[in-house]
């Protein structure tokens, strides 16, 4: 916990510095070619950029600790928007993660149990292709097929005022599948590796030699052993999905954190970029910490 907070603090420092160290200070980047010396000086003063950077950072950090992430370039406070978009992104990422885990478990266990056989090799090729297939490619194919040919699912996933993804869960399906397929294919390779590893573990060998049915060996001995590594992979998948859904969100017009970040970057809205970055990093840290805890809980030697 303490470690997590320490890392989060370090990330905040890193993000803050990155924004201020990159070519051109925020004021000159906001003004672009309209920057005259007077306009620059005026904007710098308004943004507080004329103060020493440590002072600026501390002021910003103090705001964050009070739950005030500052105001965006439109003058609206950043935090409410961020919370809403963050929840939307989290909902999508969670849905995609569940799908990804399902894919990973089925494919990974199936391949791992038959390591070296034709099924395994075929699945390996399949997952390599799946891993390499960009989500936007998949999204395009899925929209054509499921929204326009079969007409089963909506081609866009926008939300209206007052509604959340839970009001219309169907809108999550296509974006979630687009995200989950590559992630699941990637994770399945680790699951397979863990299964192969566990297959030769003494307790599993013993159980098999004792003549237990395969399904029983699987559920009682093999799967518990791979939960730890899988949790780690799942955490990595979540980390990827939280920050990596920008393109998919754009394709489906889904109001998530990624599209907020992309928009903020484009209009050089640094308060929003910083806050969104911090939320993303926090999510990743929490995901990995949860995975660590699961790993400890499910590992008899560490319990």
């Amino acid at each position: 916990m303490a470690a997590g907070i320490a890392v989060l603090w370090a990330v905040s420092l890193l993000l803050f510095l990155a924004i201020y160290v990159l070519p051109g200070d925020p004021a000159s980047r906001i003004l672009g070619n309209r920057a005259t010396p007077e306009a620059l000086a005026e904007l710098r003063e308004r943004l507080g950029l004329d103060r020493p950077i440590t002072e600026q950072y501390l002021a910003w950090l103090a705001g964050i600790l009070r739950g005030d992430a500052g105001a965006s370039t439109t003058g609206a406070p950043v935090w409410p928007l961020l919370k809403e978009r963050g929840l939307n992104s989290f909902t999508l990422a969670a849905t995609a993660s569940v799908l990804a885990v399902a894919i990973a478990l089925v494919v990974g266990v199936a391949g791992g149990l038959r390591a070296g056989g034709p099924v395994d090799s075929t699945l390996s090729v399949g997952t390599l292709i799946g891993v390499s297939l960009p989500d936007f490619v998949l999204a395009g194919v899925l929209i054509s097929l499921f929204a326009f040919v079969l007409k089963w699912l909506p081609p866009v996933s926008f939300l209206t005022a007052g509604s959340t993804p839970f009001d219309r869960p169907l809108i999550l399906v296509l974006p979630a599948v687009s995200l989950a397929a590559p992630a699941g294919a990637w994770a399945s390779r680790y699951v397979r590796a863990a299964v192969v590893d566990m297959r030769t573990a003494p307790n599993v060998e013993a159980a098999r030699l004792a003549g237990l049915r395969t399904s029983r060996v699987l559920t009682r001995h093999l799967l518990p052993g791979v939960v730890g590594p899988i949790a780690q992979v799942l955490a990595a998948v979540t980390a990827f999905l939280v920050g990596g859904a920008v393109v998919v969100e754009q394709i489906f017009a889904y109001p998530g954190l990624g599209s907020l970040l992309a928009g903020a970057v484009a209009v050089k809205d640094f308060s929003t970029v910083l806050a969104a970055g911090l939320v993303m990093a926090a999510t990743v840290i929490v995901a990995f910490m949860a995975a660590d805890i699961i790993g400890v809980l499910t590992n008899p030697r560490l319990r």
Binding site: N33, R34, V156, Q250, P255, A266
Partner: protein, 529 residues
């Protein structure tokens, strides 16, 4: 879009490169609005010809509208830039006057009349109430003017209000106010009020609690999601037919079209021309090109004070070399009309007696050779879809007469931001919102013009333009406008090669959408599935 709305695009277009598509759509939407105006207006006002539309003129129905926004929507009338925001704002709020195609129509103002020299304007308000029941007062108008005139609060609109002497506005009674101007202006109504004159209750600035006097009331607004409006039963001009509209923020033009085709929305504000072409035969949607009145003028702008364009023959040669038809077909997919070097085609006061400039390769070659011009360069950027493509094609067309054109492309978000560069570049791509010729000339050209990148000025022209701007009599102003256009046609370096129409799309049962400055208005629209 607001940029187009405002006309002088001095502000960085949208700093958002990722929203170039959006901008595109926007502009397209704007243009569309203008052209569709005429068509749909007639349809709504008179009895529609076909039975389908007749059936549609029934009360009821809700329409979901997919529209692009800037990176951040605000629903703040003083600050809003996105088309989505503006569709919503024009539902919730009234304007004193507004443009339908080229017609100035009275809105919240019952009348707007100048004194003899146009130095004072008397505005009489309609008997109207805001959605909270309080009456619309002259004080609200004064507050709205004052806020719009403040560049801090309204950076994109302040220029339309700088000439108002706000401190000296006189309120005569609860319906009447007299607005003095710093400088007399005969076209204050046409040029300023009809462009933007939203009235908000004193002390407010839109947002989630916005209260206006418009045909629709705000029911809900969430940033990045949607603006939901319901019918204002007490609207002074009669309640709208629709039960309500919901403006949904969809940034990507392809996503908007997908949403329409998938039945998720009934109106897509701004779709891409190629997509419109492809969907032309789709019976499930109607493609609505907005016509030339709602369009964006594409130009190659040559600065007439910088060599080689200080030589009128070189400008002339350039005009003759451009293959306008080819550009319209290739770059605009046919959704537009060739230009004749004067803004305002399809709008009131357009001088259509000027002969259309036709391509003449031989004459162009002769003029270039005589002037010794073999190399040119053009500054361009994809501020608006097609600008770079047009410059690319221009290079090929110039190559035919032995002139090499070099393209200097700069990022879209920096294109309009360097004022000094804009004013000192010999040749550049540019765009303008199509607006009435007289209004455009007054806003953009002459020594006082805010955005005179061709440097068209001089005593003769300034006198012409000055007479136009000061003229209070509208017939006489029309005549003067014709003269100004003729002067520009012969002397300006602005080569307006086309007017690109906005293209929207809608479900078949939607009728009566009106366009004002390229933004759709739904208070006369009807919908039946």
């Amino acid at each position: 879009m607001v940029n187009s709305l405002v006309g002088s695009r001095v502000r960085t277009s949208t700093q958002c490169r990722s929203s170039r598509l959006v901008m595109f759509v926007f502009a397209v939407a704007l243009a569309l609005l203008l052209s569709a105006c005429t068509v749909t207006m007639e349809g709504a006002a008179e009895v529609p010809a076909d039975s389908a539309s007749e059936a549609a003129i029934e009360s009821g129905g809700r329409v979901r509208i997919g529209a692009p926004s800037e990176a951040f929507d605000t629903f703040n009338p003083f600050f809003a830039q996105g088309l989505a925001d503006w569709i919503g704002l024009w539902g919730v709020y009234d304007t004193l006057a507004w443009l339908v195609g080229s017609e100035v129509q009275m809105g919240l103002a019952e009348s707007v009349t100048p004194n003899e020299d146009g130095s004072e304007w008397t505005i009489v308000l309609q008997e109207a109430t805001f959605h909270n029941g309080s009456p619309v007062r002259p004080q609200d108008v004064v507050y709205s003017f004052a806020t719009f005139a403040d560049p801090e609060q309204a950076p994109f609109f302040a220029q339309f209000f700088v000439n108002i002497d706000i401190a000296n506005i006189r309120i005569l009674d609860e319906k009447t106010l007299v607005v003095p101007l710093h400088f007399p202006q005969g076209d204050f109504l046409d040029r300023n009020l009809a462009t933007i004159s939203l009235v908000v209750p004193e002390g407010t600035a839109g947002g989630a609690e916005a209260v206006g006097s418009g045909p629709f009331k705000l029911e809900a607004y969430e940033p990045g999601k949607s603006i939901r409006l319901v019918r204002n039963e007490d609207y002074w001009d009669g309640p709208p037919l629709l039960d309500g509209i919901e403006v949904i923020f969809i940034g990507d033009a392809n996503a908007r079209l997908n949403a329409l085709k998938g039945g998720e929305i009934e109106y897509a504000a701004g779709i891409n021309p190629a997509a419109a072409r492809a969907e032309a035969d789709n019976p499930d949607i109607q493609i609505l090109p907005a016509g030339v009145a709602n369009s964006t003028a594409h130009s190659f702008a040559a600065n007439t004070t910088i060599p080689p364009f200080d030589n009128p023959d070189v400008v002339r040669a350039l005009k003759l070399v451009v293959d306008r038809e080819a550009l319209v077909n290739t770059v605009l997919f046919g959704f537009g009309e060739v230009g004749n070097d004067v803004v305002g085609k399809g709008l009131a006061g357009y001088n259509d007696t000027l002969p259309q400039v036709e391509r003449d390769v031989e004459e162009a070659r002769r003029l270039f050779e005589a002037a010794g011009v073999t190399e040119l360069s053009i500054l361009t950027g994809e501020v608006y879809p097609g600008m770079v493509a047009a410059a690319t094609l221009l290079a090929q067309q110039l190559a035919e007469v032995g002139v090499t054109l070099t393209l200097e492309e700069i990022p879209a978000d920096q294109f309009f931001s360097d004022f000094v560069r804009l004013m000192t570049t010999p040749l550049q791509s540019t765009i303008h919102t199509n607006r009435p010729a007289a209004v455009h000339a007054a806003l953009m050209t002459g020594s006082q013009g805010g955005f005179n990148i061709t440097a068209i000025a001089g005593e003769e022209y300034d006198a012409l333009l000055g007479a136009l701007v000061a003229e209070v009599d509208s017939d006489r102003r029309l005549e003067l406008g014709m003269d100004v256009q003729e002067y520009l046609y012969h002397h300006d370096g602005m080569i307006i090669w086309a007017f690109q129409e906005d293209i929207n799309a809608a479900a078949p049962g939607l009728n009566g959408v009106i366009y004002s400055q390229s933004a759709p208005r739904f208070h006369l629209a009807s919908y039946s599935e």
